[in-house]
């Protein structure tokens, strides 16, 4: 039930905030803050109770399970469960949720009630996506997060918001419909094979599929996730949506919405279609590498600060694609880390941009420069996250990218070598942010710019703490996700007993633990 409460609290909080705003706008803000905080605490409680899912063994990585028959005539159940992977992402969701409410505290004056309703419903949809173990329900939540996001961009966005919101909606809607068809097809294939018509994820796992059908179905799922992620030919909606959205919208988009795509690949694409994924491994990794390089180059070329940050997401999500298709534990653990770290670092950068925009009403890099003296706190925070973005050791992103590159090197060294070049490019664009905005002899804007206030320093302080913690002590996180990741790896290796892919796995495992922990870890039950 606790899982259901996670979603219900957000939805109810959203409705309450909407109603409360009719009398008092501050009430709406407080209600949203309390709702997200309560959920955050609940998620932490789950985590504390199950610090590392190891005790449950590799066969049953599900920590909490909730099931209720929804539409029995179709074999649709309301099935929610959480394992290490979803737990981490739910934690991230709630963390970012609290911060995005705080970020909008002064930014949103216009129709604040409806704003908070939308914000909380997006969070509810995202939480639902991370918790669903029924494909129909997954699709349901996948769409639930779409509409409020559309409103968020379309009503509270910047100048070009209508265009951006349309683009966002149509890209995601079109791609997810392909997933719907693939889900339905999988449902019928499984039903005809076994006589059991169900959308339950656990039962659909291991459905025997003809190779061609498996490939097509995988593409059906993958296109929805790849658009969300986004991967290069389909990334088009992202810069517009991120740039035009209000700060909280950009934060949620970058930190959470993109993660649903990555989560979908890990949770659904790889375990459901292991053979097709293996056949698609090299093209998948190449797509990831292209995303890394392309995102970095375009980020470098932007003059709009927000757009620049948006393109860094393309760059970072390329790593996710690369790592996911490397299909070994090292890389997948890196992907999990990357999801969390990108969520925090990019979220922080968007908050910074938003705060700056609130003060100087421009996002144009050409009009910025020399701000360090005026706003040293902002400068310091900016420096931390620019460095995180380029992957400085000691901050979380370094661990993530290192793990991904190490893991994917074992899968395909050439592609990885090319992808590594992206690190150089990301260094350039990250430093360019600092150089353009904060350094320089003379401030480009003479008038007084207020620095971060207490509220903003709380937001930024917690983000910095999180990214440093992930950078120097990532162990609890990796422990939590390990059983889930092992489970994913198992599904691919079981169906590939004849393939030689198993080989790199063993050295990887011992290698990981030694490198990361510095002490000999429990050797990953397999």
């Amino acid at each position: 039930m606790i899982l259901l409460w996670l979603v219900i609290i957000l939805m109810a909080g959203g409705i309450a905030a909407w109603i409360a705003a009719k009398w008092n706008v501050m009430a709406a803000r407080w209600i949203s803050l309390i709702a997200t905080l309560v959920d955050f605490v609940l998620a932490i409680i789950i985590w504390v109770e199950h610090p590392s899912g190891i005790t449950l063994g590799a066969n049953a990585p599900w920590l909490v399970d909730f099931r209720w028959n929804w539409i029995p005539s179709f074999g649709i159940s309301f099935h929610m469960a959480i394992d290490g992977l979803s737990l981490l992402l739910v934690l991230l969701t709630m963390f970012i949720g609290v911060l995005s409410v705080l970020t909008s505290w002064t930014e949103i004056e216009y129709r604040a009630g409806f704003f908070h309703f939308n914000l909380l419903w997006i969070l509810a949809g995202i939480t639902g996506v991370f918790l669903s173990l029924d494909l129909f329900m997954f699709y349901f939540f996948w769409e639930v997060m779409l509409i409020p996001m559309y409103f968020l961009i379309g009503i509270w966005g910047h100048e070009n918001r209508i265009y951006a919101s349309f683009k966002f909606f149509i890209f995601t809607q079109a791609s997810s419909l392909f997933m719907l068809v693939a889900i339905v097809a999988l449902y019928f294939i499984h039903g005809k094979n076994t006589g059991v018509y169900t959308f339950d994820y656990l039962q659909l796992l291991g459905t025997a599929l003809p190779p061609a059908a498996e490939m097509w179905l995988m593409f059906g799922f993958l296109i929805a996730f790849v658009v969300k992620l986004p991967i290069v030919p389909l990334h088009n909606w992202l810069p517009d949506a991120h740039t035009e959205a209000p700060t909280a919208g950009s934060v949620v988009l970058a930190a959470l919405l993109l993660k649903t795509g990555a989560y979908g690949i890990l949770r659904f694409v790889i375990p459901l279609f292991p053979n097709a994924v293996r056949d698609f491994q090299v093209p998948g990794m190449i797509l990831g590498a292209i995303g890394i390089i392309y995102g970095a180059i375009l980020a470098f070329a932007q003059t709009d600060f927000k757009r620049l940050v948006a393109y860094t997401s393309v760059n970072h999500m390329g790593f996710v694609m690369l790592g996911a298709f490397a299909l070994n534990e090292l890389a997948l653990q890196g992907v999990v880390m990357q999801m969390l770290c990108h969520g925090i670092s990019t979220g922080a950068l968007f908050i910074l941009v938003g705060a700056l925009y609130e003060r100087i009403h421009t996002r144009d890099l050409n009009k910025m420069g020399g701000f360090w003296d005026q706003i040293p706190r902002m400068g310091g925070v900016g420096l931390v996250f620019a460095l995180a973005s380029l992957g400085l050791p000691g901050l979380g992103n370094f661990i993530a990218e290192f793990l991904i590159l190490a893991g994917s090197y074992m899968a395909n060294n050439w592609v990885t070598a090319v992808a590594t070049l992206g690190l150089v490019a990301s260094t350039i664009y990250s430093l360019r942010i600092m150089a353009r905005v904060f350094y320089g002899r003379k401030p480009k804007i003479e008038k007084h710019i207020p620095d971060f206030n207490v509220r903003e320093m709380i937001i930024m302080g917690s983000l910095i703490a999180a990214i440093v913690w992930l950078g120097v002590f990532p162990h609890p996180v990796l422990d939590t996700s390990r059983p889930a990741i092992n489970n994913i790896i198992n599904t691919t290796s079981q169906s590939s007993s004849m393939s030689n892919l198993k080989k790199p796995l063993l050295p990887v495992k011992t290698g990981t633990t030694v490198q990361l922990a510095g002490k000999s870890e429990k050797g990953g039950a397999r």
């Binding site: 539409i71 179709f74 719907l180 068809v181 019928f188």
Partner: protein, 491 residues
Amino acid sequence: MTVSDLNYLMPLLILAGSSIVILLVIAFYRDHKVTFILSLLGLIASFISIIYVRGLPHEIGALVIVDSYAMFYWGLIMLASLAVVALSYGYFSKMDEEKEEYYVLLLTATLGSSVLVISRHFISFFMGLEILSVSLYALVAYLPERKRSVEGGIKYLVLAAASSAFLLFGMALVYAESGTMDFTKLGAHINSGAVNTPLLLAGFSFMVIGVGFKLALAPFHMWTPDVYEGAPAPVTAFVATVSKGGMFALWFRFFVEVNGYRYHSLMVLFTVIAIASMFIGNFLALLQNNVKRILAYSSIAHLGYLLIAFLAGGQMGLEAGTFYLVAYFITTLGTFGIVAVLSFTERDADNMDDYRALYWRRPFIATVFTAMLMSLAGIPLTAGFLGKFYLAAAGVNTALWLPVIILVINSAISVYYYLKIVVVMYRAPEEDVVAGVPAVTISPALSVGGGLVLSVLTIMLIWFGTFPGGIIDFIKTMVSGISSVSVTMVP
């Protein structure tokens, strides 16, 4: 025909009777409210009498059959008419014309559609169709003072008459070949060997023209936007729901009875029609700026989607089609209901400007409209999503990959024009002041009937979208009657 047969036709008798009663009442005492209440009562009585029909299925002569399938569609049609009547009161209260005969025509049109649903013979088919059409000619042109009203009425009259001629000619050809007008006997005749005679195929094809016209499928859709735009909004809702629903129910029954699924050429024909309807409906809707025309083109596309269920056939197709039709009824009544409640005396609220910043002025109506549009676009939490899901399931189940993929592509296209309306509704009112657009005309207050209908429709929309178990089971038990014929294809 015995007296007990009349029991089975009680809903129709009540409908016919109440239209006569209303006519007489009008002759003595002309009053809008009285007429309105009488027609409401007639429809409610008719709906209740459906519940008391027992002992199904029951054949009456060669002409009609009352089975659970027909009962379901009766119920659907009655409820839709009820909603239209409830919406009409507020709408026509603003008008200067004599309003009373409107309700009579509405009841007779409902009667025609109900006859279609139980038909199993060409005679009753054509009779029902003509009762429906003739009433509609007058209904479409009911407000002759308006600019487009008469134009719409005449277009509908001419084209409907032409299509009826096609339909009749098709029936004649089929009759000439098979010597029977009874659906079941026709099916038996075809089963006995006369499958691929050119006369039969030509007859069926001509009938498709007539039916396609009524269902507004491409390429027989030309009348739709003009009639939708010209007709008063409640009539538009009626044309889009009751008239199409009755026809669809009949055509599905006919096709199953004669087992048209064995005709590969007919299947190809319907696939082409379905795909053409989807694309033409959606692409032309993209170009429109008039809300009623957008909805008209969108309804063409939706009937194209519906054909996927028809193509899939079998029990699953029948259920999917029925569920989709239920969702389509709810959303269509809802959208045109909103147009009706926002309308002015001189014209309907079909201009985009009428919806500008509606959310900030009339949050309830805008929220309902948003929900309806989301349902049309097929977004979860709404009945429209489950309907589309059901259609996709039926299509995938019978491996109709091409139509299903086209459905997906078209759903994505359609999102654009639905969002276009949504965007206008949520636009900030302040922007208009800046842009110098004149202040929006204050639209009239919401009538009790209108508000009630919209609330009920919205609740149903969300309810069927989130907890569809009950309605799906109900549809399953109700429509299981006619799809007993096995589907075997003959090239």
